[in-house]
């Protein structure tokens, strides 16, 4: 017998400013919905239990672990992924700083760091180095680029304070 709750359900999700309507199984993870159903593969899955932060996306502007949510929970909500972080061809200051200051090596963890850092700087535009380290401690970088990641976030914060509108992406 098929349980009623296991039946596919229609959802409507805004991802990077674009509305998507799909019918999905309730067991489909948000991370897999983004990667498999929408083809937005910039969101990476590293640990599947919310520890590594690689799959972090913005959920109504709040960073969440997309491997810990179901796609159906995103019904009616706004999702922001790494693919929507730049403003057209113009990179977000965080993206620019991560690139310029080598805040990335293999790059697998990078989208999660960027989404987390964007939210952090929105709440704390002038952080100390220690505050950056604390704020980014839910994201693992095994390569491990912590030194340059912290430097990149501090540099992006400085640039954002000078040109605050540069940080507006789509979500």
């Amino acid at each position: 017998m098929t349980e009623p709750s296991a039946s596919p359900r229609p959802i409507r999700v805004s991802v990077n400013g674009v509305d998507h309507e799909r019918t999905v199984e309730p067991r489909l993870l948000l991370s897999d919905f983004l990667r498999h159903d929408l083809g937005l593969t910039g969101t990476h899955v590293g640990c599947e239990h919310g520890v590594c932060g690689a799959c972090t996306v913005a959920f109504d502007d709040q960073p969440v672990r997309s491997c810990l949510m179901f796609a159906v929970q995103a019904d009616g909500h706004r999702i922001g992924t790494i693919e929507g972080m730049a403003d057209g061809e113009t990179l977000h200051p965080l993206q620019m700083a991560f690139w310029e200051l080598s805040g990335l090596q293999c790059g697998f963890c990078t989208p999660g760091f960027l989404i987390t850092a964007r939210d952090f700087l929105a709440r704390n535009p002038d952080p100390s180095e220690q505050e950056v380290r604390e704020a980014l401690s839910g994201n693992l970088c095994r390569c491990t680029g912590y030194q340059s990641i912290v430097a990149a976030v501090l540099e992006a914060a400085r640039r954002l304070r000078q040109a605050p509108l540069a940080g507006l992406g789509k979500s």
Binding site: H44, V45, E48, F98, S102, G107, F108, T110, R133
Partner: protein, 755 residues
């Protein structure tokens, strides 16, 4: 820029405008926008999802699988078991060279370690495949697993690492120790560690008749291609392996693994493309690990603190079915001068997956033990640990008696100590506290890693529009091969980076050798430099032999290639562009080939290693035992630096791995079940940002004329060595407690000292 003296061979290479520059990585924009395509991001039409079912026991046999229940689940396409797996052309247990792993490819019902694949479920969706794997509900006939170093009789392995002798000695250690005024003996334990790159192993396999395309992270594209070809009995040229980006490797993506082959077999079975991605817990078993060690060091000195004997014995483990023995003792061959050195090994066979290369294999495990023992010996001599290391500085490589090809270790000690402020260190432990009462300790460790080279090849083309192409099948695990090798390639062709296209990351390009052993930049770099030089030499021959060229007759003087032009070496007012030379010769392009390998004569005459010195400060809560690394300064000398920005990243990363080795990482195996008890990133601890202070990596200048013509040593692994010991030694200096079981955790630091 290449300078070619046509009258002399081999061509002499100078360094142009790209090598040495701190360029940002060329793949950076792709990686910050989500555009870098990792293996699991591929999704060919008609693709199915495969999920491994893995064993929950460590030893025994699979007695039953409920295939019917799994198959009944909606969306399941096929269950691959030992009963219906496609045939292979080679026994998965065959091993014809040391660079291959014996694999579990469903060849029988035996279980030889926990998390071994026992079936593959293939479905229309990942969710259905995952559910199908759970529905298999395996039953086992279980035998008592052996997973601890004391669980089996030991033997002397025939070789350790790759072909290293398991015993080596100079002088007579027992005589040296017997004649020593001061002696120490200590046993150190290092745990099982798992590589845990952020990107789990993944493969997307698509067959087209007998041709196969796979997207999978690989540190060794050519080896992977050859392994697949022999397993499936197809020509190597039928196999295309693409690996433009690896989400970290650290050794576990070096030798092709069983799960990757299973993905290809699954695609064969169902006749459609298949994607198989390991779950994180499946990374704890079938893809290798760093084996645990027990290392006993015995050291003795004369009255002045000069070593008279050094014995380093390692007990380690391999699996029951394959050989990889962590070469931990070998680090004692090269670092400290002693008239008598002996290294030896014993090993046991355990019901685990087969260990493999893990970032600084042998050197990392061995270094933390040796550096701890050296500190204990310094303490016994009443000497400052840095002064003791300098007292025993090796001017020649101790085990071989060879001179070093270069060794700027004294400068590393000096620059690191100066930057750190080492001279203010009190000799005795437990004498420094900070304002909040935390115990403060300072430690030092020496870093070392061999300068290796493998065999590599490359192809370079200059086109009639003056632009170039350089191809080599290199692997970028994050270290920056796309950037550093392109810098070398551009200089080799005398072009700017913008005028040259660099192609890499696929098996249909010339074999660049493996990305391992910290040898990739040297190996692939020498090949691309050689390919460029070859193309330039052919171009120069065209020009200097042509009466219509401004360079006619310059053959004896030679030419210099720069900015897309050849210049007469003794008269730079005479030059000609690549485009003009090729157009006049009516050639669309000109091709050069390059290859690289270690120079056997240089190897016979010189010991080749990179070196470094790492200084660490820790703070320890005297009541809670909580340990924090608060400062870390490393100074490293590794020959010519192609890109200081990328190299610094490697040093930072290695140093953090060193902290992790000393304080965090520990794969716990349940001795009753044989299962990993912390097979996830929540419980297998690696450092997060808050664990790591601001760190410094000093690039100490070093020129090496012997390692290779570019003077490149490796930088990817060395920084773990030295750092791990420095942190451990700092914990002793803070607390007066010498913890010899790693990692040093607060419970080990606070448990009562054995009486």
């Amino acid at each position: 820029m290449s300078e070619i003296v046509l009258s002399a061979t081999p061509a002499h290479l100078r360094h142009g405008s790209n090598i040495g520059q701190p360029l940002t990585r060329r793949d950076g924009i792709l990686k910050v926008t989500g555009g870098a395509r990792f293996a699991a991001d591929n999704h060919p039409p008609g693709m199915l999802y495969a999920v491994l079912a893995v064993s929950s026991v460590a030893r025994g046999r699979v007695a039953a699988l409920d295939v019917a229940a799994a198959k009944a689940h909606p969306g399941i396409v096929e269950i691959m078991t030992s009963a219906n797996k496609p045939p292979l052309a080679l026994d998965p247990d065959a091993k014809t060279n040391p660079f291959m792993r014996r694999l579990e490819l469903l060849q029988n019902d035996r279980v030889r370690y926990a998390n071994q694949p026992i079936a593959v479920v293939i479905a229309e969706t990942l969710e259905a495949a995952t559910e199908g794997a759970a529905l298999l509900s395996p039953r086992y006939e279980e035998e008592a697993p052996r997973v601890r170093l004391d669980a089996a009789e030991s033997f002397v392995p025939p070789a350790v690492g790759v072909g290293h002798p398991s015993e080596a000695e100079i002088g007579d250690v027992e005589t040296g120790l017997a004649g020593s005024l001061r002696r120490i003996e200590a046993t150190y334990e290092t745990p099982t560690q798992f590589h845990n790159p952020m990107e789990p192993h993944a493969i997307v396999a698509a067959w087209d008749g007998d041709a196969l395309t796979v997207d999978t992270p690989s540190q060794g594209l050519a080896m992977a291609q050859a392994r697949i070809a022999e397993l499936f009995g197809i020509p190597a040229e039928n196999v295309l392996v693409r690996s433009p980006f690896l989400g970290g490797g650290f050794g576990c993506k070096g030798l092709f693994t069983g799960p990757q082959v299973l993905g290809i077999m699954a695609a064969r079975l169902v006749g459609r493309p298949v994607k198989l991605v390991l779950r994180r817990e499946q990374m704890f078993g079938p893809v290798g690990h760093r084996a645990p060690t027990q290392q006993t060091l015995r050291l003795g000195t004369d009255a002045d603190g000069a070593l008279l004997g050094l014995s380093h014995h390692t007990r380690t483990a391999s699996s029951t079915f394959d050989d990889f023995f962590e070469p931990a003792s070998d680090v004692s061959h090269t670092l400290y001068a002693s008239p008598a050195i002996r290294t030896s090994y014993e090993a046991v066979r355990l019901d685990t997956g087969t260990p493999t290369f893990m970032r600084a294999p042998g050197e990392a495990s061995g270094s933390i033990a040796l550096e701890s023992a050296i500190d204990e010996m310094a303490e016994a001599c009443g000497m400052d640990p840095l002064a003791f290391r300098l007292r025993n500085y090796a001017e020649l490589e101790p085990i071989s008696g060879k001179p070093f090809s270069s060794k700027a270790l004294r400068a590393c000690y000096a620059e690191g100590a100066e930057r750190f402020g080492w001279k203010a260190r009190p000799l005795r432990p437990r004498e420094m506290r900070d304002a909040s009462g935390l115990l403060v300790g300072w430690g030092v460790g020496t870093a070392t890693f061999p300068a290796l080279m493998f065999q590599g090849q490359a192809r370079a083309v200059i086109r009639k529009d003056g632009t170039g192409i350089v191809e080599t099948g290199a692997q970028d695990m994050g270290q920056g091969a796309w950037t550093a090798l392109a810098q070398i390639a551009a200089d080799g062709l005398g072009l700017s980076m913008e005028q040259m296209e660099f192609r890499s990351g696929a098996s249909n390009l010339p074999d660049a050798g493996i990305a391992g052993g910290s040898a990739h930049t040297a190996t692939a770099g020498m090949a691309v430099a050689g390919a460029g030089a070859d193309a330039i030499a052919k171009l120069a021959a065209l020009a200097t032999g042509d009466e219509r060229s401004a360079l006619f007759g310059a053959g004896n003087a030679g030419v210099i290639a720069r900015d897309g032009r050849l210049f007469r070496r003794d008269d730079e007012s005479r030059s000609e562009s690549y485009a003009d030379i090729l157009n006049r010769a009516a050639l669309a392009e000109i091709e050069g080939r390059g290859s690289s390998a270690a120079d056997p004569i240089a190897q016979a005459n010189y010991a080749m290693h990179a070196h470094g010195a790492v200084f660490a400060e820790v703070k320890v809560d005297p009541e809670l035992g909580q340990i924090r690394v608060t400062r870390l300064v490393g100074a490293f000398a590794a020959g010519r630096i192609i890109n200081p920005r990328l190299v610094r990243s490697q040093y930072y990363g290695g140093m953090i791995w060193g902290v992790s080795f000393a304080l965090h990482e520990h794969g716990e195996i349940d001795p009753r079940s044989g299962r990993p008890m912390n097979p996830n990133l929540g419980e297998y601890h690696v450092p997060v940002n808050a664990d790591i202070p601001s760190i410094e990596a000093i690039l100490v200048a070093e020129e090496d004329r012997h390692v290779n013509a570019l003077g490149i040593k490796g930088v990817g692994e060395i920084a773990i060595t030295g750092t791990a010991g420095a942190v451990a030694n700092a914990v002793w200096h803070a607390t007066g407690r010498r913890i010899r079981r790693f990692p040093i955790t607060l419970e080990r630091l606070t448990e009562p000292a054995p009486r």
